[in-house]
Symmetry: C2
């Protein structure tokens, strides 16, 4: 996919593309080779027009009356999402959430290599929380200097999250996934995503409150 | 807000409304009383047209050239998101992720009351993982019969997640937030949301891969 084309994809479309990919991988594993926009829409719980619009951003390879070739669509989505290569990931904060994430199996499957885990608590340093021995946060800059880290996952307490993010940014980490419930500030060049559990709960309450 | 009006809000808009709410609560705590769509857009990282469109779904109370009244907008958003009341929440699965969620402070602040936590492991039952003594999963139906539970958070291993969801649905729990990486099936009347960490990672890799 040409970068110019990729730049036209709206931010809101990207998470949906990743949902389509995972759904298609499931469909592929069931042996299905072709799928219509309606079938895919039913599987992911959206409407066919949305599917057609989202997929139109990166090529016209659905065939009217036949549908999409599952293998080819998976390849295109992986290419588009940057998943036809691997990414190095670290986790900063080896508490319960950090450990839960380190043990999460979805990581490796899609090409995300967990190469290090950091904590400030000296009692925890050296223990294995799912990603090999936990390293001291004091060694963060040294590690980042010696390893190419593409994504840092921040699961520290809120009180230190901004300081950790600043250090990651200063050391050149290009993207951060922050779970600490703070409004994190960062340099414009850094990609930061915030996982917010209250958004999920509020979305449920929106639908509950009829 | 009239229910008929609420029903016109598209699904994709709801998570954004919750982001606006949290941002506005922050802005309110800084003592700001009025905000333009441009200022709010800058704060949440979107564009003013998106803000105006999203907020138009539930009333025309922005004043051209002046902006939105922060207090009033917060009230309207809370009403719209069903946050002007409280919701009872349980967590099923008291492993690392479940415990991390139980200890998460954002819950209570927005009106979500964590009233119980369940696990299948008898070694864990009776211990406190952040939400009072963990109850045996065998007591799930009895508990649901005796308490009104609005939201069940599922953080069990994947292998048992569907069974747990089926039991919650059968017992009448109206909404489920599932963290287990499975494609959960459910009754049409039940609201189910899936938190998927691989979607977050894939979104980062989309932007990294330029």
């Amino acid at each position: 996919m040409a970068p110019s084309r990729k730049n036209t994809i709206p931010a809101a479309t990207v998470p949906r593309l990743s949902q389509y990919l995972r759904k298609l991988q499931e469909i592929q594993s069931r042996g299905t080779t072709t799928i219509s926009s309606r079938q895919l829409a039913d599987e992911v719980g959206t409407n066919p027009a949305q599917i057609r619009k989202d997929l139109s951003y990166f090529g016209e390879f659905g065939i009217r009356g036949v549908g999409y070739d599952v293998d080819r669509l998976i390849e295109e989505l992986k290419k588009c999402l940057g998943l036809n290569r691997s990414w190095n990931v670290i986790i900063v904060g080896s508490g319960k959430l950090g450990t839960a994430l380190a043990l999460y199996r979805g990581f490796q499957k899609q090409g995300f290599n967990l190469i290090g885990m950091f904590d400030a608590d000296s009692a925890v340093v050296g223990t294995d929380r799912g990603a090999g021995p936990v390293l001291s946060i004091n060694k963060l800059e040294k590690f980042l200097n010696e390893h190419e880290v593409h994504i840092a996952v921040v699961t520290t307490p809120s009180s230190v999250a901004q300081e950790v993010i600043d250090r990651l940014v200063a050391a050149g980490v290009p993207s951060i996934l922050n779970f600490a419930p703070i409004r994190a500030h960062k340099d414009k060049s850094v990609i930061l995503r915030q996982v917010d559990l209250s958004t999920e709960l509020m979305t449920l309450s929106f639908y509950l409150d009829k």
